[in-house]
Structures are given as C-alpha cells and as structure tokens.
Symmetry: D2
Subunit: 346 residues, 4 copies
C-alpha cells in the first residue's frame, strides 16, 4: 500500500513534537517533512533529544513541506494559521489546523476574543470542528479540520450527553479546569520557570480565557439554549493532563442511574471515551500519554447538581492525538491507528 | 517572665510535627511534653529526622503531658478528642482541639456527617470556633477552642466580607478546592503512594466531604441566609497548600471596585490575611510555610459572578499555625508570636 | 499467522502492569492469562484504572496461566521465582524471569547476598543472563532467561565497551546511581509516602545493595579482571528512570575521540542503545517511557578518569521492556516489536 | 539597643530574596535598603509576592544602599562583585560577598577557571573564606567575607574531619553532587523550563564545574596533600537542597566507630552541623528551609572506602543562611540569630 505523505508546519513546538512521536508509530503514513520558522536547517533531534538516532530529519521551509505532502498539520499561533491554511487548500492538500483560527463559526466572536482580523471568511465555511465524537461524518468529508482547544475537548466531551438530552440548565454552568504545564508551550516565562511552578498552583484568566467562546458556541451546536459559562483555568505542577470539574444544575429529579446509563450508551462506540462507574472519579494520571478521555459522574443530591469530572492528556486528546484521530477519519484509516489506547500506569 | 507550659497530645502526626516546629520558635512557651499512643518512649526526632539534635524529646503518656501543661493541643482523629478534652478541662487546662469534634454547634449535624455519637453535649457549649478573624474576642475568653478544618479556613476567609455585607446569594455557592498531600496525613495509602500521586490529580468526595456542614454552618453565623454549597475537593501533587476557587452569584450590579475596597478594609487589621490587588490571583506557593492567607478577587462580568480565590498552607493557617494563633489570643501573647509572616519565595 | 500465547505470573505488581501495556501493543502475541496471589478473581483494570475498557481480564491462578501459555513471564520477589520457573520448564514452556533468582552464575554469591537457599542448582545452568546487547545469541537458543536488574542494565551497558577493550582499571570502579520511585515497587512504605518523598532525595544501601554482585560478576564475564565496585544507589523524586554516573580510571592516555568512536561502533547495531555526541550528557527524561538507553561520555582530563553517564527507564529497559526484548529474541520476532523506540519529549 | 543597618546589593535574585526573608526575622538588624540594577523603583514584593504586605520596600541605587548601611551583602554574578566590594571597603563598610570573586586565594587559578581578570589583588588578601566551621576566628576579625559556594559548603563540611585527621587519601577523591533547581537562579533557560526539568534528571559540567578549584584549594588549607577531585554535579527536580556523595579511599584499616566518633566530636560545638548515627544517611528534605548540614557516614568494607553523604539547603547553608551566619560572627551576634535551626518535616 502506498503511504500517505504527511507534513508538519511549525514542528518545533510542543504539539509538533508530540505529533512526530505519534506519526512515527502510524503504519499508514510517512513524515514527508517538517518546518520551523526559527530552526530551519537544524535537526529535530537537537531540539528534542529523545528522538536522537530515531528521527533526525532537518527542518525545511514551509513550502518544501507543503509540496511533499498529501496532508498538512499546522501548529502555529493563532493569527498565523489562516494564511498557511489558504495556501495548503489552494494547493489541494488536506489540512488539520491545530491552532485556533478556524475553531469558531461566529467570526465576529473570534475577532473580538482573539483581537485578530479574519482575511478569508469564505475559507472558514469549509472548516469542520474536529471533535470526532461530535462531528465524525463531517470530518470524513472535509479537507479542512479545525482541531479543538485542549480545555474545550475535555469540557465538551464531559457535557455532550447531558446537553444533547436536555438534562441540565446551561445558562449557569461553572467549569473549573486544571491543566498541566505543557499547555503553556515551549516559550520560556517566569510562570513556567521550574522554581516558580514546582510546589505551586494558581488560577489564571478567570472568566477571560479565549477557550470560553469555543465552549459556549459548541455547546450551542450540541443543542443547548442560552449557554453561559463561568470558566476558570488553573495551572497544575505536572507536565501533562487536563481535569475539568463541571457543575451543572439538573433540570428535574436526579435519577443518577438514568444519567449514568445515558452516558455509557452515548459513548459506547467511541474508542477514546470511557465512562467510569457511577461515583468513580478519574485521575489525570489514568489518561496521560494516551488519547483517552475518562469521564466520572456524580449527583450532588443536596444541591441537585450534576458534577462531571473529565480528564484528558492535553498533548494527546487535547492536541496532537486528536489531530491524528481527525486525520485517520479524513483519510479512511482505522480511527485508532497510531494512537495510544492505554496510559502507562505511572 | 515565666514560660507557659504547652503540651501536645497526638504529637506523632503531621499536625503535631508542625506544631513542635512552631512552638520551638515561640518565645513565650516551653514544650512541656508530647504524647503518642503508638510511639511512647521513642524520640520525636526518630520519626521526624529534621529535628535530630534540636528536639529529641521522647513521647510520654497523655496523662504525663496533661499534668505538666498549662495549655494542651490535641491532635487526634475525630471521635477521639472529646474524651481527652473533657479530661483536660476537668483538670483546669486550656485546650485547643485540632480535630473536628467541637467544630459544629449543631451536634445533630455532627453526628450525621461524622457517624459518631457525642458523649458530653454540655462541653460543646463552651467551645469557641477558632477562626480568629471571626471570633477573636470569644477566643480570648474561652478555655476551649475548636481549631477549624483546613478547607473551611480558606473558604470562610474568602467569603466572610461578601457574606457579611450581603453582596452575594448564598443558596447556590460552588466551591472547588484543591489541597496538597499533607492534608491526607501520615497514614500510608495507595492514594498517597508516590508513584500514584506524582504527576497525578483528581477530585474526591464530591459533594460528600465532611467539611461541607462546617462551611455551611459558619457561613450562616456570618450572616448568610439559606446557605447551600456544592463543595468538591481535589488532591494536588504538592506537599502543602490549599487553593479554593469560589463562585458566587452577585446580588446586584458588579461594582468590582466597591467589593475590592470592602475586602481590603475588612481585613486591614488582620495580620494573617492579605487581599491582593483587584484581578491578581494568588498562588499557593506564596503562602506555604507561612501562616498567611492570600485572597484574590475578580468579577466575571459576563455572568455577574464574584470569583474568589483563597490560598493558605493547610499545615499552617489550616492547622498548626492557626492553633498557635488561637493560643496566642487565649494567653494574651502577641497574635503573631512564633508564626511565620512570610513564605519563602520557593 | 498464529499468535504466541503469553502469560504473566505475578501480574499485579508494577513490572506486571508495564508488561501488559507493552504486550497489548505487540503484534505477534496474545495475552493468554495473568495471575496474582492476592488478587485472584479481580479485574486487572481495578488495580490499574488506565486499562479500564481496554484490558479488563481477571487474575487467575498460576497454574491456569501456565497451562494456556507458550511463554511465561514471572514477576515475583526473589526466592519465589525458582519453584515457578521449575514448574514452567517442566511443562515445556519458555520462561523469562523478571526476578533475581537466576541472574547470578555463582550460586554461592547469590545465597550470601540474597540470604536465600537455592533448591535446583542444575536448573540455573540453563539460564541465560538476558542482556541482549551482550548475550543475544545465547538468548535466542535458551528456554530460560534471567532478566537483568534495573541498575545493572544501565551500568553494564555503560561499561561494556570500555571493559571489553581493556580501556579502564576495574578494581576501583565507583558507581553512583539514581533511580525513580517505581523501582521501589507497589508496596506502601514511609519512604515512598508522597509527603516524604516529594522534594526529597537520599542515598540508600551504600555499598550493600544486592545488585552489586550482579554488576561485578557480569563485568567479569565481559572481560574485566579483579573487578571491585563501590555502588551507591539514590532515590529520585520522579516516577521513572535510572541515571548511573560511573567513574573509571583510564589505563593509559585519554584519547577521548578514540574512546567515543569505539562506543559508537560497539553499539551501532543495537537498536536500543544510543551513544550521544562526545561531551553531551543524557537526561533520564530522554528515555522514560521507551526501551532506550542513552550513554554520554566525557574524560576528566585533570584526573585521567573516564566518566560515563548512562540512562534508562527502570520499568522499560530496566525491567518489562527488556523482558519483551528477550522474548522477541527467543521467539524469533523482530527485536523491537511492541517496544517504544522514542521517549515522549515530556 | 541600636540596630545594625544592613543593605543588600543585587537583592532581586534568589539569594537576595532568601536573605531578605532571613533578615526580617533577625532581631539585631534593620534592612536599610536593597538595590537591583534592573528593577530600580519597583517594589520587592512585586517580584516576590510572598512578601506582599510584609516587605514592600523599593529597590534603590547601589550607592543609596551602601550609604545607609553598616553591613553590605553583595549578591552579584562573578566578575561584578569586585568593584562593588572595593567601594564598600573604601567607605568603611563590612562586606559579605555572596559571589565567587573573593573565594580563591590563588588568584591565578581564579582567573583561569572564571576567565575573568582581577583588578585589586591587594583587596583579596583581606578576604576571609566564610566557612564558619573552619574559619570562625578569622571571620570575627575581618571586614570582608567571601561566602562559600553552595557545592563546596556541603563537600568541605563532609570532608573536614577526615582530611584534617589524615584518615583518607585525597589524591583520588570522587564527589558526585546533586542540587535543586534554585541553584541555577532566576534566569529563564530551557534547562529550567518546568516541562523540561520536571520528571527529569541529568549531570552537567562533569569535571569542569567552577566550584572544583574552590574545593581543592580549601581541602589543601584543611591539611590535605596533593588534592585532586573528580567533581560531577547533577540537577535534581526539586527546588532546594544539595546532596553530595563523597568517595574517599581510607588510608588504613576501616575502624568505622573511630571515624564516626571523630566526626561527632569534631562538630560537637557547631550549631549547624549534625552528624547522624553511623550508617544512617541523610535526606535533603531533612534540612531544606533550615541552615543545617546533616552528615551521614558509612564504610564500604569490601573496597575500604569511606562514603560520606552530606546535605544542605543550597539557599540557606549554601548561600543566604551562611551569609547571615557570617554576619552574626562578624558583628558579635549569637551565631544562630535569625536562622532556622530545624527544617519543617515536609
């Protein structure tokens, strides 16, 4: 079988590094090339010594990578993807954009929250939001996937059944999320300096994080009315993992068994979502280094609230893993090809 | 000046160890003795090697410790304090109980949540809830202080001004709290086994933690009507620190400046509470190894919610530090004597 | 192709858990069964929640597992393997013993250091020491492999070329090794209690660790005369990884380039050993979650010492990964089948 | 009693921050002022939020600080201290230089290893090497103390009795040292980026670290002949602490009891050095956040080597704590004033 040629634009960052690791294990693709604005000519394994002797390819120019590829992953900061996507689509490539530029359907909301103007509005109409558990059919038919944000992935998977089945009020959702440090990426900063972050923990961007409109828009598309969330992210002193604790007022009586069964059934055919036994709450360590999402449910009987706890690995299901899952669906591969099904126990 | 003689019952546990460290620095007291059911005859520094050469006293019996003391700290599991407190009070000692037995005024609620019967109901009437910022006057006049729980301390300090001034609705509070591992104490368990807890993070006892009724009762005493909280604690992979993220619906318009000023004024004379600049959120690392509480405030304008983030060191302001602060007030010492005012920067 | 049936005895421990994770990815084998003395009837995923929904098989009896298997991995404490190996060999199975019982050829030394009597001396003659880079041919022809200890693996790989080529004196080797906490296994202990181990670091068993005679005997088999090592292990506050710093007096002039070239050439055909550029020193994070060994070399010109730094993942190349590598060689699979070639970057 | 006025030059770095924390607890001094080249006009508590509300002083110019001070601590990179010391001495101040410029008596060796020229050789003659356990008398009489390096402090204290009493050969010492990340200071770097350093461990500057000549020169001053050390530092994923494992060939028979008794007696009057029971090895967590040094001893009988394990907190006994200890000796304060005698248990 001829291998699909896959390129990575912006491969020097953390998502790029994680992608290379996954793609090396994928039996249907070759890595055709990698690019990095600041590292052209350098070997990938110089930046990421784990790959020494296993993947020592050099960074090339964006154009070189695009030319050699059937599928292009784009790992660029928001505002920088749009032009690159345009170029890839114009050259007839399939594209998975790991950045934020194509995630929102409401372009006005994008421009407000990201303070960035959109240049090719028509292009955005082609983009499919790449949450496979929600949009698998559309993903299989598009050439342009917008890979979801890490926080939204954990949150949307946690809420999808409850929202679709109208179990909860969505006008007063509270989402308290906690992420590992790789979510902040490779750029050096005082916040991610080891001595500052180790044995430390804090909230940030309370109520103002850019993933907020993504969460609200997609919940609306899942069937929620009048969505309004208070979203507060926190930074954990761990490398990987997102845990989202979601507080939702139940619409009517708390039939916890009914809710749990619904969740189990909802995700029965999704290979990367596991609904735990009722009352069992997940740990990020149970999913890190895998593409899994674990979901735990409990009803707070005293307050008639559904408490949902959802965990993913921010670098896998929250970024590179989900990007490959999307590629698998787009290209007709087995959905799980190349992806880790099980987290190591420690 | 003659030194106050201070004993510690149950000194082999984590709170006991932290207390010894503080009391050694206190200029007005001598440690008269320490007891431990399982370690009688052993040297304290065998269990806690940091103290080698500095505090090598041996554990004695409870009765020996009580006899030699003016003030007794009791660090026993719930259900075990009550008898010991009775004995100390009968012998005319001042008592600070670090456990849960005397925290709740509603004894029925205690018996329900702790599944433990109360033997001396009349004794409970003498107990003062030892949150100095709330009850300083009463603490100064009692012989029996119930030292607050760690989570409630962080939460009550965060909510006190808003609740007292009727700024928020208290019938739908959501409190998402995160604690370091020392909160789980010295007992070995799979949860606190290093390989399980390192690079890990999870929620536990969602909606069912025993600190819930303590939070609700004390908020009521602060002036809240119809208090109802959803309280979900989480376990951080750090040794020390509690961060509580509190979501409260504002009663009327969000005058964030007014709220912030109120908080600043409220705590202006409390040496261990620092209200940060509006919008600045605290980090647990800014208070660990000190008796400080840092409080950050922000109003989520989109949802008209007040988001309060409060941090303490669970072993200091959340346990041993607050116990000594209570002793200082009871015995007429300077409130800050022996206590760390500033956390080390790392 | 018919799949090889593989069973794991003692699968409830950390090495067992890691083995299951690897075997699930191996395309030539089926896991025929798992046993655990204390967990019979329980589901594996109850102990290791990462596997929930992916590997939920129950623990059976040892005999059930052996009966269904072509190859048996034995993950038992020293002193418990010998009988089990006997039984497997008697039933015509291939065996890889992850424990210590068959590692030493000098049975007297084993009995002294391990304070355990040997019952079947003749059986030991069949055992091959499973360091593939040293004994590949013999491994391919035996039915009984003794999987090396974690520390010895990192140390022997680091010293093999220098010892074989007589570059160093081996009568005064100093080996300062540091291991992650999973090396101490699943048993709860004060040493591995999170609050004790986090932000902590210590040496242990200085000069008395049971891996010492294994190191000395195998160096002798590599060609060293009069081997004598001071071996001091330390316990790192990380989950995985061993780093060994080895200090060896050079026999003659320090031609660092010659030494480095020799190492490069020596391991050129070994897929799991990477010799870094001269002077570049490895980090355990560059190999954890992979079966790689990275080796860094530098000559301390002032003292004419060769300093070798070798890193592995104690659970992979130091235990379960190497065990599967041995199985691959024994069964004629590709040596790298099922094994991770590259560590994730974080 | 009038307070001694103490200023800190270069107070924005980690050693400066630690110094401020100690000096605030010192009952004999006032902090007269702090300077920072890059932060003039900013509040100290903006950089170090732990100090918010407790120490909010602003950074001033060096000259302002010097003018207001009786004693000046200088916390500048090597090469920058010398001029500043000159100025302070010329103005009649007492000086404790936390940097490297005055540590070595052999100026040629300094210039070689530090690649920095010396401008005022005569000034160096006045400097006393500030290891109080070695030079207390001289420290009490000088105006200029060179505060030792962090690694040398742990190593010299570990070796002092054995070297002075000629118990060991010093021409083939091997020192394998491990430090927490604060030793690398406040400057952002890829090495100390959280995601790179967490769950990571590596050696660096093997045989070439600048503390090597300091160790060798001071061992010579302690009485060692022909000193030659192989010194390899490593970077631990913890905030604080240094553990040095020292391997020394014993001169004659291994009378471990004699050696241990000698060590106990040697340090009997030193408040900050604790010799553990023979065979007990220290943990860095037993000294972090204190000014203590714990020393463990064991004789490797098989190789006739003395293995010494010494731990300190690199920021306390390895930097700021020792600097204050030196000030106490210089100014006639109690040697322990302001300093933490006991590490918290976690």
């Amino acid at each position: 079988m001829s291998m699909v040629q896959v390129g990575v634009i912006g491969a020097s960052g953390y998502v790029g590094s994680e992608l290379i690791g996954i793609l090396m294990k994928h039996e249907g693709v070759d890595i055709s090339g990698i690019s990095s604005e600041n590292n052209q000519g350098a070997a990938f394994s110089t930046l990421y010594p784990s790959f020494k002797g296993q993947y020592d390819a050099q960074f090339e120019s964006n154009q070189e990578v695009i030319s050699k590829s059937d599928v292009v992953f784009i790992c660029l900061p928001h505002g920088k993807s749009e032009n690159m996507v345009k170029q890839c689509i114009d050259e007839g490539k399939k594209v998975i954009d790991a950045g934020a530029d194509f995630r929102l359907n409401d372009l006005k909301v994008y421009e407000d929250w990201y303070e960035t103007a959109i240049s090719y509005p028509e292009l955005h109409g082609q983009a499919v939001y790449g949450l496979p558990e929600m949009n698998k059919e559309a993903i299989s038919q598009t050439s342009l996937v917008a890979n979801p944000g890490c926080y939204p992935t954990s949150i949307l998977l946690g809420l999808y059944p409850a929202v679709s089945e109208q179990l909860i009020n969505t006008d007063r959702l509270i989402i308290d999320a906690k992420s590992g440090v790789t979510g902040a990426g490779k750029s050096l900063s005082a916040v991610t300096h080891f001595a500052n972050k180790n044995e430390a923990f804090k909230a940030y961007k309370a109520g103002t994080h850019r993933h907020t409109p993504e969460i609200e828009e997609k919940l609306g598309q899942m069937g929620a009315d009048n969505v309004k969330v208070s979203f507060v992210p926190h930074l954990l002193p761990v490398n990987r993992g997102i845990l989202s604790t979601i507080y939702a007022d139940l619409k009517s009586g708390s039939d916890s068994e009914h809710i749990h069964n619904l969740y189990k059934k909802w995700y029965a055919n999704d290979p990367f979502v596991t609904v735990l036994d009722y009352g069992t709450l997940p740990d990020i360590s149970h999913v890190t280094h895998s593409n899994q999402c674990h979901i735990g449910l409990t009803v707070d009987e005293r307050t008639q609230r559904l408490i949902i706890v959802s965990v993913i690995d921010n670098m896998q299901k929250g970024a590179a893993g989900q990007a490959v899952q999307n590629m698998n669906i787009m290209m007709g591969f087995n959905e799980t090809e190349g992806l880790a099904m099980v987290a190591p126990s420690f």
